[in-house]
Symmetry: C2
């Protein structure tokens, strides 16, 4: 994808630079290098520890502003200010979005009700309103930024692992996501907004970060950005659920593998700032609703449940565990179906609006309240559904358990049980289908509602079974079906997302902590079962989208500790040695498409000296053999001839200067240094280079062959090459467990295996992924012994020293 002008203005390419070997790279590198040089010159003029300033403003006024700025930041700290701003912005955005979505949803119901008495018109309104919204959402997202499609949590998980996803966090994507989300969720289809909110918060954080960098002139830093992104994810979830604590924990669970405890407060602070703004907005609106209770419940506090009911709660956990796994499986099958059936796919791909239209029409036709919809409370919005499911009444016994009266009419036609069962069954596949639409949408809330309905179903059954409550010897307590709904909601959403923090989220959502024990038990059981059967929905989407990711270790069985690097590493690594000649280099580059190669001192001793990038090697070869070298050679020959004949050459061609821009101080040690090797065609293979031979008329093919043969025999001159002096090294007896930790924590892409300094093998993400998946699957069996020497399988991704920041173009699968 070409660089957009506004991105350039945002300085966005700097982080995206590495690994983008597009056509404009050469040209871009030149301008970038020039810019950096100018900046460095300006910087060196100033005090060493003062920030970069440009000269457009009045100097006097600026000095004052700088002082105020420095004072503020030094006293409070830029992180606090940053998080405060982020929390506030996200709260406002969340408030606005919620408001818009609620209006859209109620408008849909309103239009439908206004047309009462005209069934056909009602049907048209019921169906076409969502269709228009969904199609608009899909179209808008496609046109503005296709990256906005989907949840966002899988991508954020990948980004937080250190992978750069192209154009995933820019302003255009923000617009596409916000507008797309408002229309897709506003359509009334069973879609959620927690995933998109995580994405939105991350974009806001990135943009805010850039703004503050411009303003404050502070260092921009990879690891700091990652920390802030993690905090932004927490703020996003918190704002979405209006649950500061649960939100932070949920975001940690779904996005991180290893979590730095010192960053813990960031998420909380941002979330609390958001909650505070929410609270003020509520006061300003003269509403009584507070942050603590989005779906406020009022179950009895004294004796919320009897210990014997824990059996029923455990049952909810078991069913939700299987249900969650089934949901993930179903979703993947739908995506697979869309992909595999060629004719179907071809039909869909004729126009990108066909699939959304069909799905929306199908779902709305089924939920039409005068048709099947009357048996599944279709006339309620998501919020109303949750409110009613959590309500403190018993629908079956038809007698108020507590004070609040509740009609709950929609759930009693024809019968509570029939409605709940049909609601659960229909919603289950409808949600799995709806989230395959190419619109910005999440999965949490719809699943949460299904879980609540299932919990309610169990609760109502218990209520019907024990109309007077369960006796505890001396106390008789009525069943509270609303409590069951809360437990079911937490269990199913926890099961689908593989998280435990849903339990905290429901406490914050309902404002009551009475059911802590049943909720925790059900969530843990559901998690245990679903983690055994299927990956989480987010990991499943990562697999579907083929994002570069390392699965987490699910078992702690002996295999993960008893599998060693030597069992999974690739032997017979392709290498370049300090003594190699250019012929070896050329052969290496021709026979392998890896992106970095180990450098050893000699093929006999195999002492690992470092790692060299493919681009660097290509540049070396090019410098020696490329067109310019040949021109230089012939030029020199001509000069020589001219000197011999006493005549000067008509023109001199200066050899190309090489830009080796190493911006150490703005990057951390583990980030790729901004190395921009300039060759005619950085991506070009030997063959493409050969094709340009025709341009040269100074050298006959024979001359050239002779010259090449001579040059190729020379030993490689590494003197001004960029060599990564310490690629990550492991020993053969490093356990898979430790390798996994290192790769996860440092975001590595591959590591060399050495013994006493000698290179013996290589492990890449691919091998580890395979081994971990294998281990997770066969928990207690013997380790896989993959000792066959084969070619190394470092994926052809740009990698760099001490870990890597590979960059991916998002596979925007239209049907996903």
């Amino acid at each position: 994808m070409a660089l957009q002008p506004e991105q350039k203005q945002l300085g966005y390419e700097q982080t995206l630079m590495h690994g983008r070997y597009t056509k404009e790279l050469g040209q871009f590198a030149k301008s970038e290098a020039a810019r950096l040089r100018v900046e460095r010159e300006q910087k060196s003029k100033e005090d060493e520890f003062r920030e970069y300033r440009d000269d457009t403003y009045c100097q006097k006024c600026k000095t004052k502003l700088v002082w105020i700025r420095d004072w503020t930041f030094s006293k409070i700290g830029e992180d606090w200010i940053f998080l405060f701003l982020l929390g506030m912005l996200m709260a406002l955005l969340s408030f606005g979005l919620d408001y818009t979505i609620a209006k859209f949803q109620t408008a849909h119901i309103w239009v439908y009700r206004e047309l009462a008495g005209h069934p056909f018109l009602q049907y048209l309104a019921w169906c076409f309103y969502p269709i228009i919204f969904v199609v608009f959402s899909a179209g808008f997202a496609h046109l503005v930024a296709p990256q906005a499609v989907g949840s966002g949590i899988p991508e954020m998980k990948t980004i937080l692992r250190g992978v750069v996803l192209k154009e995933y966090l820019n302003f255009k994507t923000l617009i596409a996501k916000v507008v797309g989300l408002a229309t897709s969720v506003g359509s009334g289809l069973p879609l959620g907004k927690e995933g998109p909110f995580v994405h939105i918060a991350s974009i806001v954080s990135t943009l805010l970060s850039k703004f503050i960098v411009t303003f404050k002139g502070i260092y921009e830093n990879e690891s700091r950005n990652i920390e802030m992104l993690a905090a932004a994810c927490a703020v996003g979830v918190s704002c979405n659920f209006a649950a500061p604590i649960g939100g932070v924990l949920f975001s940690i669970e779904v996005t991180s593998t290893y979590f730095a405890v010192r960053n813990y407060w960031r998420g909380f602070f941002g979330a609390v700032c958001g909650a505070f703004v929410f609270r003020l907005l509520a006061v300003w609106n003269q509403e009584e609703e507070t942050i603590t209770a989005l779906f406020k419940t009022n179950f009895r506090v004294d004796f919320p449940f009897d210990p014997q009911e824990l059996i029923a709660f455990s049952f909810i956990g078991v069913v939700c565990g299987f249900g969650g796994a089934l949901f993930v499986y179903l979703h993947r099958k739908i995506v697979d179906f869309n992909r595999k059936h060629k004719q179907f796919t071809r039909f869909l791909q004729k126009n990108r609006f066909i699939y959304p239209t069909l799905v929306a029409l199908f779902i709305t036709s089924i939920t039409f309240p005068l048709g099947l919809g009357q048996f599944m409370a279709a006339e309620l919005t998501q919020k109303d559904q949750i409110d009613e499911l959590f309500s403190n009444t018993t629908w079956v016994v038809r007698e108020k358990v507590d004070i609040i009266p509740d009609p709950a009419t929609y759930w009693e036609n024809p019968n509570v049980f029939v409605t709940l069962v049909s609601f659960i069954v229909m919603q289950f596949w409808m949600v799995a289908l709806a989230i395959t639409l190419p619109v910005p949408a999440g999965v949490f809330m719809p699943v949460f509602i299904i879980g609540a309905a299932f919990g309610r179903l169990v609760g109502e059954s218990m209520s019907a079974w024990f109309p007077d409550g369960i006796s505890n010897g001396h106390l008789l307590n009525k069943i509270v079906p609303g409590g069951y709904a809360v437990v079911g909601a937490a269990a199913l959403s926890g099961s689908v997302t593989h998280t435990i923090s849903t339990s905290v989220i429901v406490f914050e959502l309902t404002g009551q902590i009475t059911h802590i024990l049943p909720v925790m038990i059900a969530v843990l059981i559901a998690n245990a079962i679903s983690q055994l059967l299927q990956p989480s929905i987010y990991d499943s989407i990562i697999q579907i989208k083929r994002l570069p990711y390392l699965p987490d270790i699910s078992s702690s069985g002996p295999r993960i500790h008893n599998t060693y690097v030597e069992d999974i590493m690739v032997r017979g690594v392709k290498f370049i040695s300090w003594l190699s000649c250019y012929q070896d280099l050329r052969d290496l580059l021709d026979t392998s498409n890896l992106n970095s190669f180990p450098l050893v001192d000699a093929p006999e001793s195999m002492i690992l000296l470092g790692s060299v990038q493919r681009a660097e090697l290509e540049y070396l070869l090019d410098k020696k053999l490329g067109r310019l070298a040949r021109i230089q050679y012939t030029e020199n020959k001509r000069k020589q001839a001219a000197a011999d004949s006493g005549r000067l050459p008509s023109q001199t061609i200066t050899p190309p200067s090489r830009f080796t821009i190493v911006s150490y101080h703005s990057n951390e040690g583990n980030e790729p240094n901004l190395i921009i090797p300039i060759s005619e065609n950085p991506n070009g293979s030997i063959s493409s280079r050969k094709s340009s031979v025709a341009d040269l008329d100074d050298m006959t093919p024979e001359e050239q062959a002779e010259w090449e043969a001579a040059v190729l025999k020379e030993q490689i001159d590494f003197s001004d090459s960029q060599i990564d002096p310490a690629p990550f090294q492991l020993v053969e007896r490093t356990s898979l467990h430790k390798v996994h930790s290192l790769f996860s924590l440092l975001g590595l892409n591959h590591a060399y295996v050495t013994t006493l300094g000698r290179l013996v093998g290589v492990v890449a993400l691919k091998e580890i992924r395979r081994a971990v998946e294998h281990t997770n699957f066969y928990k207690n069996q013997r380790p896989p012994v993959v000792r066959t020497p084969s070619t190394p399988s470092i994926s052809p991704e740009p990698t760099n020293r001490n870990g890597s920041r590979p960059q991916f173009n998002l596979l925007v699968d239209e049907a996903t």
Copy 2:
């Protein structure tokens, strides 16, 4: 300390082995080696994947049991069973301890009240009851296991970083901790039990782990043990507070630096099992009290506070922030005072019971209810104090805010404000003093109560100021001073411990989540301030006890990213080269007391090949130069002479066989392999070796000197040495931030700095600690440039490959 027989039985030495170069080591190593050999033989006889079995039981019955066992474990997973057992055991232990402590405390009050009318007797009873208890606790702990003294959280934090603390997790310590805790907290002094509970849970987990290992025969593994210990800490806190979620979060915050999200469920599961048992016990007792509400509150839910009150809540946060820092400072000053004043210390050390007696007498004299104690509600137990401080009444306005009537008489003599202020001021220093007693005791609960009292004070003041509540335009809400008490409790305890999860703990303790926003705001403000001023109380104790620990990075300013390894590393590393002769080795060992040395290929090229342990080098030297070598040499000479003269020697001495037991499969890659080098005196220096020369009458001093000189010139033979082939390596441009992450996560002790394979320096924990502390202190200033070549400062601790498991003898400071 000598190995105790029962420890040997528990197989405890195995984990303690590494680094224990005590006198019995040689002998122990032999027996250990023999044991391992026997085990290995037995194992090899059996199926490769079956467990070790001994032959004492009936074979038939055993096969069945093994089958049942295997089936259970394979179906459910040993982790789940383990955590279930742990949670249950801890719940029972917690229940029993709580019961005992409550009885002790009420007995104290009861005795005092029974003697009403006899003030002097009352005084004696009031003072001597606690004195006896505290002295008993101190004496018991000292006699049984001095490791039981103190909180336990600082030590667990150190252990979870990978340091082995001697005898810290054995059965004797458990007994000492449980009995000592019951008596010390039962004495009624302001002491807590959360830290000891963490320690108790960790010991129970370790013992249970050993039991299951014996039972199941599964691998014992360092990283798995650490995971289980982390879970045990969570279970400990959860059981203590009866707060499953908050407990897990609190334990993560106080013990971890990096947290693996996949272990998250362990703590929750254990905690929930504990909570479940608690709940069943409550039912069995026919009590209504549930796990959700240890200090149940019933504030109004609809409008718990007005947004304008947030200013008052923020004020509580600010004061608690400063107060928490002051508390940590005060505690350290008391310890410093006890240590520095020699005369005082000498007096105290005459008898270890003087200090506890004096402190207990002092505190109880002040709290005597007929004296000063009447102004500080001294007649209430900790639980009663919290109940009353959290109560939903307003003491000032003397009018019930809500339904529950409450006398609160103890707090109104002579005046609510006077009582609260005197309570806060007196308790503040009394708690700081009490926790320096050499008894098992924690700090959380007393601080929690002080915070609650302060919150109550602010709440009552607000109530007096706005007797009708604060107007919100259209609503008028009464102030709820109990809510202020909750906020204050969370803020002060969060400030002292540097945790945010205290907010979650109060929700679970009170069973109400209404005050989420004020609690979070106050806790965050308090944390921000106290983290700026002082370390947490646990980190402070770590510093006081001089435990090996790496402080966490507190700032994310530019310095942490702009400081590089080259700025902090030590150049001019002492090394041994592949070409060195024994003379070099001897010089090296004589001039340095490091515990491991880098091995390079040659002094010129300095290519790092690996790292060698000091013990290994000493063995090498000893093998070549030691007594046995000399005996061998003279023996050979004698044999030669005998052969020459045709006569056989009277006896042959076999050269010592060398045990190199490498138990790879039971250890992880990063754990020290069980290498037991056997020499006469593994700890012996050259001088001690020389002293044994007198035993030799076969060699004259001249002969010996000549022989030594010849031997010393030989090149070292590393052929059967244990060389760590991949010591941890860094590059000069690795940032401090990354180094910190690596050292924290992998539990490293030192790392070599290399460039293109060449050794250029070394960084040890000490340098990093210094740099991080410096960075935390001077946040935004220039990095320290420590480029002076000096001797490396690897602390003289036993280290091993790929990181280290240094082992420490706990500094049981009697006055701490």
